[in-house]
Amino acid sequence: MAACAALVLAACGGTTGNEATDSDKPLVYGVFATPLEEPWDGAIHAALQSAADDGEIVYRHTDNNNSDDKMTRTLRDLLANEQPDIIFGDAFASEDATREVAADNLDTAFVFGSGEKPVDPNFDVFDNWLQDPAYLAGMLAGGITKSNTIGVVAAMPIPEVNRIVNAFTMGVQERNPAATVKVTFINSFFDPTTAKQAALAQVAQGADVLFAERAGVIEAAKEEGLPVIGMMVDQKAEAPQNVVTSLVWDMRPTVNHVIEQLNEGTLTDEGNDLGEFSFMKNGGSSLAPINTDVPGGVPQELIDEVEARKQAILDGDFVTPVDESAPSGSTTVGE
């Protein structure tokens, strides 16, 4: 019984964030449209939590504000009652509604994941610009495939997903023009069972390297004994013998920049597109350490090639093309 009570108390702490102990620190609110378990919002949450752990901010959050109505109500409610300095969130489910609330609260900075433009003076936007690690992962996949067929299981053809899948395909193309990339959209952000089935269907059609843009694919790779590329965080622990590398999104540079601007007093001067802070050269995204202990191994010369390209991206000598058009289900990249 006591354990139960402790759990419930812990839950309250978990969902409302830590108590404000230091009134000097800015109060930052995370207002998310999906449950925190969703990896996209999970990455934002993790960065804000780490900033709070470093003592830079006081962080609280609320999630699952999945409609215009809920998002608006939550935002107005906490603006009236808690007066946060900054609100982070994702606006994809309610682009107009979040901008409307921002327009009524010009002293608060709104920093939202969004597919649209920033709004002066206080609505900044960011996005997961993972095309750089996606390109590098594509080079790797193109280099280790033996059947010249690579399977990608992704959520749905929206710009945020398309540019990652397309950059991956371009990376494959550079390294292996004869390869075919098969792309399946499962039409859901959260359906690992279907994602796994989709991956198995790709394996049945010859794919011997998989890219798990969505959860569920790594399990298929494990069962089939194939190399797989993870997404959002380094997923090596899930299958140490299969995960070659992962595309990693780190929101900390974006968060750091926003806090800096707040301290300088310039945060609400104009609306900015903070997308660049998710680029690899700014530390906002990366390719997880390459794991050579996978079926078929990874040749050293391939690793060297990928590392060289990574350096070119970091130095600004190579800019990964951004293509947000919907990829087709099966593309032979050489054509």
């Binding site: 839950a11 378990e37 269907a201 049945a204 059609q205 899930e238 289900g329 099966s330």
Partner: protein, 300 residues
């Protein structure tokens, strides 16, 4: 069409049909006893979560499966308590149960794992992984070789099956014949709940070895449709589950086949549902519902 991997298609069909067949048979038992159990989606979800949770803590998928059976019993008892003992509207009781179970599991998931990565837990291995079609999980074998015949024979040839059908068709007559309507319906809902929960646990303990939000993703509702499609008969329900799973597996192959590149992917994704709707439209006319469908019974 030559690009299709036919054996892989059949393999995928049988795997994907397993949770649908378990759920549909569970629902069928409830409905043949006169209770529409819309708690199915939540019961499958709870089976998936509790199975995952216990398997992780106990270190064995078998313990997880046993726990899923336990939660299936509880979920069945809850629906029975509401619909049989209290005679609550079955739609409300069922949907309420589903909402309660899904929200409870998500809440517990948040408490235990925060927003972080959910761990991998011990899962059932594939049997005969290198043999086409036969490469399935043990639960799939149990479902098709034991559960399906058992449910079929129980309904057709046992005293309990006769009682179950009697209370679903004409509870007054069953009561007059000395059959306890309440006890029979409780039994049907509990057994049905167990089958549903095991169907859900198949997702977490066999397919994924983990748990994610929305793991059942509407499969329970598909089962409800399958039971109507099958006109409350066991064999058509199994065939319906296989058909749905086949079309699902087929679309996943077609979508990456160059010959079908011109077909919009939305059409592909809708394909399994279109087939079920079509099948329902064709087979669902002049339905003869179980006589006491949706009706609570009071012993007087």
């Amino acid at each position: 069409m030559t690009d299709l991997a036919y054996l892989a298609l059949i393999t995928a069909m049988v795997t994907a049909a397993t949770p649908l067949v378990l759920g549909a048979l569970g629902e069928l038992l409830c409905e043949r006893a006169g209770v529409l159990n819309l708690g199915i989606e939540g019961t499958m979800y709870a089976g998936a979560f509790v199975g995952f949770l216990v398997a992780g803590n106990a270190g064995s998928p078998w313990t997880g499966l046993a726990a899923a059976v336990g939660i299936g019993v509880l979920a069945g008892l809850l629906v029975a308590f509401l619909t049989v003992t209290f005679g609550v509207n079955q739609h409300v009781a069922g949907i309420g149960t589903t909402l309660l179970l899904i929200a409870s599991c998500d809440f517990a998931n948040r408490l235990l794992y925060g927003a972080g990565t959910v761990p991998q837990v011990p899962k059932f291995p594939l049997l005969f992984p290198d043999v086409p079609v036969a490469g399935q999980y043990l639960l799939t074998y149990i479902t098709f070789l034991l559960v399906v015949p058992a449910v079929f024979l129980t309904l057709r040839s046992t005293g309990f099956g006769l009682q179950l059908r009697a209370v679903g068709e004409n509870p007054e007559a069953a009561d007059a014949a000395g059959i306890s309507v309440a006890r029979t319906r409780y039994a049907a809902l509990v057994i049905g709940g167990v089958l549903m929960a095991v169907g859900g646990a198949f997702l977490s303990l066999a397919i994924l070895g983990s748990f994610t939000l929305n793991i059942t993703n509407g499969r329970g509702w598909v089962c409800v449709a399958l039971v109507i499609f099958a006109r409350w008969r066991v064999v058509p329900a199994v065939l319906g589950g296989l058909l749905f799973a086949f079309v699902e597996a087929l679309q996943l192959q077609l979508v990456i086949t160059p010959a079908f590149a011109a077909v919009p992917r939305e059409v592909m994704i809708a394909l399994p549902y279109l087939v079920v709707i079509l099948a329902l439209a064709l087979s669902g006319r002049n339905l003869r519902y179980p006589g006491a469908y949706l009706q609570p019974y009071r012993h007087t």
